[in-house]
């Protein structure tokens, strides 16, 4: 009698254990997949929180000092606009894209890699700088502006 009770209990215990372990494995997998996704999302938000304001500075502001294009080494805060927002100055764009990559990163306040280009609306690249070998995590912001009276597309891609 005692043996039969013991056998039934062992079977129940075995089934219960298998279910329990299966459930634990499922929950752990669910948890780690979610954590990985959340980490990806948080990193993406961080990239975005940098990329959009930097693109704003570039198309809307003249930079600091405002006439930095006369002496590119004096550039402290990036800005490509002339007297008016969304109207870029050719000399500023040329000097910015000619900057040393690491210097440009520092001026833009970026810890990650960046790729920057300006193209006309047909997609012809007019100016380009930065690291075009994109990492897995990437934020791309497209802005529109006037450059020498032509409408252009400016794209800033931050990745890494």
């Amino acid at each position: 009698m005692g043996r039969r009770k013991g056998q039934v209990n062992s079977g129940d215990f075995l089934i219960g254990s298998i279910l329990f372990v299966g459930l634990i494995i499922f929950m752990l997998m669910f948890w780690f997949v979610m954590l990985a996704d959340m980490e990806y999302g948080v990193n993406k938000d961080r990239l975005e929180a940098i990329t959009i304001p930097v693109s704003d500075l570039m198309v809307k502001g003249p930079g600091v000092p405002p006439n930095w294009e006369e002496n590119p080494e004096s550039l402290e805060v990036v800005g490509l606009a002339g007297a008016s927002q969304n109207v870029l100055m050719g000399s500023k764009v040329r000097n910015f894209t000619a900057l040393d990559y690491e210097d440009a990163k520092e001026i833009m306040g970026l810890e990650k890699e960046f790729h920057f280009y300006i193209e006309d609306l047909e997609g012809n690249r007019l100016y380009e700088s930065g690291n075009a070998t994109l990492s897995e995590q990437t934020i791309s912001v497209t802005r529109f502006a006037l450059l020498e009276d032509e409408m252009v597309r400016m794209r800033l891609i931050v990745h890494g």
Binding site: T142, R143, F144
Partner: protein, 141 residues
Amino acid sequence: MGSKGFVMTLDASLAVIIMAIFLLSFSFFYAQIGEDTSSLMAAEKQANDLLIVMDKNGTLATLDPEAIDGNMDLALHEGFSKYLEVEYYNYSNGFYLAGNFSVGSNYTESEKTVFAQREFLVFGNQSIKHYGIARLRLWAK
């Protein structure tokens, strides 16, 4: 025996319910956090830029729906639908609607729509001819 079985079933049910609540709550908050707002913020910037640039290069002031539509199509080649409403007014002891037009796809209420507005002036004979308002909606295709 029956009483024991009942207690164990109740325990198991409670455990399953608590776990289900935990998983559902976590999934819900995860979905909230995971919502991709980056494309919306970037799209809003694009919509504003587009109106500013079309104002500054005089495209809006043409009041020509085809020219405006063509310009926007050229600029927004990536995955956006658009709907632009333009109203223009004359001023004579108050503003009077002189005309309006719209271009783009039929606007559909979408959660992922961004909106931008810009006031602009139309000049003629070296004076202000019309006061215009452009309202642009962009949403992902």
